[in-house]
């Protein structure tokens, strides 16, 4: 275990529905980990278990190599958490929420909180219930960043945000944080927004990780192969690493991971009339794996 956060065989059910089953994950210090999954796959449940909001049915969570239990609280001082929805007391004015929140964190940085308030043009007297979704996200960021966390968890924070706000959030704040060495777990179902930010990618499907890779390696070795041949190659294309395969007459389309010289040789042996190799963007990778 050399990660800042390690999860082993985590399981959680709601009634008869199994949301997570033997889920394992390892996030290394200083990395930005993108966790992709379609809605309802258990991303929020996973994050709530990490944050000690709900208890797991089974499995273990380690933070900085120390096992944490549902009752533990001290590790939370080092983790910032931005939720998908607003989770603040709506009757509180911003100033009061910041003051309330500060009482939980010994390293609370009031100066930073005030700087961000100014930067985001938030009036400290405004009650939270009167804030827009974007403003609530900004407030969530202030609450999180002023506690100076080592590890930041973002649970689908940008869903429903307008483009400029999302841009500010992603390009400025997250980049700034990751460059400062903060480890980030970014969970989302909006795929393209984490491209260019993440170091590692995990794809959650049916309660477990179906992909957990270094994103740069993944991008370099996950390829779409477009083949044209005189006769259909559908039945002949059989080797490990084919993620998806579509055959239409004498045309075939494969997504292969990892793409290697050996696999290229295998296909060339089938003598296709043409072979086009294209790298995939993140959205394409996600769709390929998720489907």
């Amino acid at each position: 275990m050399n990660g800042i956060l390690t999860i082993k065989n985590l399981s959680k059910s709601f009634g008869k529905k199994k949301v997570l089953e033997n889920f394992s994950l390892n996030i290394e210090k200083g990395k930005v980990y993108g966790l992709l999954g379609i809605n309802g796959e258990g991303k929020t449940t996973l994050i709530r278990m990490i944050m000690g909001v709900i208890p797991p049915d089974d499995g273990e969570i380690f933070f900085k190599n120390k096992k944490i239990s549902f009752r533990d609280d001290s590790y939370k001082k080092e983790i910032g958490f931005i939720a998908e929805e607003s989770i603040f007391y709506s009757w509180m004015p911003i100033k009061e929420l910041l003051s309330f929140n500060a009482s939980f964190y010994p390293k609370w940085n009031t100066r930073k909180a005030n700087e961000y308030l100014e930067k985001f043009s938030l009036d400290p007297k405004t009650k939270i219930r009167y804030l827009s979704r974007g403003m609530k996200l900004k407030l969530g960021l202030i609450v999180t960043l002023a506690s100076e966390p080592e590890f930041l968890i973002l649970d689908d924070p940008t869903s429903g945000l307008d483009v400029p706000t999302r841009h500010d959030f992603l390009k400025e704040i997250i980049k700034e944080l990751s460059e400062a060495g903060t480890t980030i777990l970014f969970s989302t179902h909006i795929v393209h927004e984490i491209e260019g930010i993440i170091d590692n990618l995990g794809i959650l499907r049916f309660g477990s990780l179906i992909l957990d890779e270094d994103f740069h390696e993944l991008k370099n070795s996950c390829m779409r192969i477009l083949l044209t041949s005189e006769e259909s190659l559908g039945d002949k294309l059989k080797f490990d690493g084919i993620i998806t395969q579509k055959t239409n007459g004498n045309q075939s389309e494969l997504v292969v991971y990892p793409w290697t010289e050996e696999k290229k040789q295998l296909i060339e042996n089938l003598k296709p009339t043409s072979m086009e190799i294209k790298p995939l963007n993140l959205e394409e990778i996600f769709i390929s794996f998720a489907s």
Partner: protein
């Protein structure tokens, strides 16, 4: 962190708190307005119900804001232990309730008339015997704890509010019938508080354990988890409470007993006590130097024993079927033998069937006859119809006389019945139409003519203080009369044969602690403010026996010879028992090695003194050897 949580909870409950203030102000305004007379009863009833409802309202909203804004995710993801969060929230909300309690006390204390009404409210029989303190504060605290403990189980506050009231009331009734089943008794304040504490603790423990272990997002699982725990803890509480109360060890560090009435007869001392789950009469036998049980049963509300010759008369509560709890008259020999009831209130064939017995009973000086009162309010006639019953202590010779009193007369207590005459002396509290106490009247009843007259228009009648005492010879009555025109309190000796009275001492404020007659009925000693004085009938002289540096309630009594006096006198930080001879010169000075509870709990016997110490023990001091012995 605690301060921030405290402030947050106060902010969230500011509406409830403001409402409480507005309602209290409304009550004050009503009380000061022309509507006062009309609304006083309503105000009193409202005040009585207000606290439990306010408690349930505040408690049930414990996690309302966490549910409402999904803020439970926020607060659970902060670095604070869940049990600490639970406790901080509980204390914060409790502080709001306590401030409301304080407001309640202020309003109750300073609103003219309300206090009297509240102390006069006749609680349903299920709650009889619980002191008003418990009704006003212990029940709301339990309801608050229950409602707070379940407030995180479900997001609908009004459901939690009603459920907590139902659970609280249900548990009170289960507890009431359980006590009756186990001890054939009903509520006692001590038991009630003990069980109340156990119930509250059961909910607190079950709630905290559920809070730190169960999944907040899964309501069904959460409720099931909590229910299992709370049932387990409540069952455990029942067992612990039963065993603890039966052993008398709860919260006292030992067998606590508290004598609430005592009477010295011959050379023995009789104590009405509550200990180890039951009320009883015990007797210290001076000859054997031992304490024996004389009578066991629900005697609390009758409070006073009457002892004469070889008989004791007292009232005991029994509950049989539909009639509910009723007082019966019991006679028992002073050694505890031959106990029998003379009234059989629950027996349809009894002449006393279903009658409501009042106050206390009195034996005649020869111990052969007993007198007591029953009564009911005439709805149409607006009269208080009182029947005075006289009968032999073997149950024969029943004689009854009827008297009509004004409807606003209450709390009839028999004071003296010199059986050679047909006169009965009793105290009655007269109340205004709004139930405000007007005065304690001392009444003389002529049983032959079935008429009564007021002897003294306002007397002090707190029987437990022993400031209205009949001499052992039944010839005189010592009492404190409030002389309103002169604005003085006067210590009066009333001759029970001639009804002549003599003022032997007067002061603007008597500050009397107690008075005690010598065995021969010739001398009376009383302690007031900083001095102890003795009045002698024979020479009509008042003498000062001792002085103290500060006002202090002390114990004192005549020894059995009727000549020597035993007085506890503090000296710096120590207590001393001083014995004075016939000429009131100090004969002995013995240091008391224990804390003394109350002045009345010292009894002078034949060369011995019996004292009550430290809420749990009776000690006998031998004046010859100066040795102490624990006798109970």
């Amino acid at each position: 962190m605690f301060v921030k949580i405290l402030l947050k909870e106060w902010r969230e409950n500011i509406l409830v708190f403001s409402l409480a203030i507005i309602l209290m102000f409304a009550l004050v305004a009503l009380s000061l307005s022309n509507l006062r007379e009309m609304t006083l009863n309503f105000s009193a009833m409202f005040l009585l119900l207000f606290l439990p409802f306010a408690a349930a309202l505040i408690g049930s909203g414990g996690f309302y804001s966490e549910f409402k804004d999904n803020a439970w995710i926020y607060i659970f993801s902060r670095p604070i232990k869940k049990e600490i969060l639970w406790i901080f929230k509980y204390i914060s909300l409790l502080s709001i309730l306590l401030v409301i309690f304080l407001l309640f006390i202020l309003v109750k204390q300073f609103l003219p008339g309300l206090n009297e009404i509240l102390s006069d409210i006749d609680f349903p029989s299920e709650f009889r015997g619980i002191l008003s303190f418990s009704v006003y504060f212990v029940i709301p605290l339990i309801v608050f704890t229950i409602s707070f403990s379940i407030s995180f189980l479900y997001d609908k506050q009004f459901i939690i509010f009603f459920v907590s009231i139902i659970i609280g009331t249900g548990l009170a009734f289960i507890y009431r019938y359980y006590l009756e089943f186990v001890w054939n008794t009903y509520y006692y304040t001590g038991n009630f508080r003990s069980f109340g504490l156990f119930i509250a603790l059961s909910f607190i423990l079950a709630s905290i354990l559920t809070f730190i272990k169960a999944d907040f997002s899964q309501m069904g699982k959460k409720i099931l988890f909590f229910s299992k725990l709370v049932v387990l803890f409540l069952a455990l509480s029942l067992v612990l409470g039963t065993v603890g109360i039966a052993k008398g060890d709860l919260f006292t560090g030992g067998r606590e007993f508290s004598p609430y009435y005592s009477s010295k007869h011959l050379n023995d001392v009789y104590l009405c006590t509550y200990s180890a789950g039951a009320e009883k009469v015990i007797r210290y036998d001076s000859e054997t130097d031992k304490v024996e049980k004389v009578f066991i049963g629900d005697i609390y509300s009758s409070q006073k024993l009457s002892i004469s010759k070889n008989k004791i008369a007292l009232f005991k509560y029994t509950n049989k079927g539909r009639g509910g709890w009723k007082k019966d008259l019991w006679i028992v020999n002073i050694d505890g033998s031959g106990e029998k009831t003379l009234t059989e209130i629950h027996n349809p064939d009894s002449p006393f069937y279903n009658l409501g017995i009042y106050g206390n009973c009195l034996l005649s000086p020869d111990g052969n006859k007993v007198i007591f009162l029953t009564g009911k309010k005439g709805r149409k006639s607006k009269k208080y119809k009182i029947t005075v019953w006289r009968m032999n202590t073997n149950g024969t010779g029943i004689n009854k006389k009827n008297l009509d009193f004004p409807i606003n007369y209450t709390e009839f207590n028999l004071v003296a019945w010199p059986a050679s005459t047909n006169h009965l002396i009793l105290t009655i509290v007269e109340k205004s139409p709004t139930f405000k106490k007007v005065a304690d009247r001392l009444i003389l009843v002529d049983l032959e003519k079935e008429k009564y007259q007021i002897l003294f228009d306002d007397v002090r009648s707190e029987f437990y203080r022993k400031i209205m005492e009949v001499s052992p010879t039944y010839n005189h009555l010592g009492l404190v009369w409030r002389d309103h025109p002169e604005n003085k309190e006067k210590l009066v000796i009333l001759n029970l044969k001639t009804l002549d009275s003599k003022v032997i001492f007067e002061a603007e404020l008597m500050r009397i602690w107690a008075m005690k007659w010598s065995q021969d009925g010739e001398k009376i000693v009383f302690s007031r403010a900083r001095e102890t004085l003795v009045y002698t009938l024979a020479d009509d002289k008042l003498r000062k026996v001792s002085k103290r540096d500060y006002s202090y309630e002390i114990g004192f009594d005549w020894l059995a010879d009727g000549k020597r006096l035993a007085i506890i006198i503090p000296d710096y930080n120590e207590l001393f028992l001083r014995i004075f001879d016939e000429e009131f010169k100090e004969e002995k000075k013995i240091r008391i090695p224990y804390p003394v509870e109350r002045s009345v709990y010292l009894w002078g016997l034949d060369n011995k003194v019996l004292m009550y110490f430290n809420r749990r023990s009776l000690f006998r001091l031998d004046l010859e050897t100066e040795k102490w012995k624990k006798v109970y």
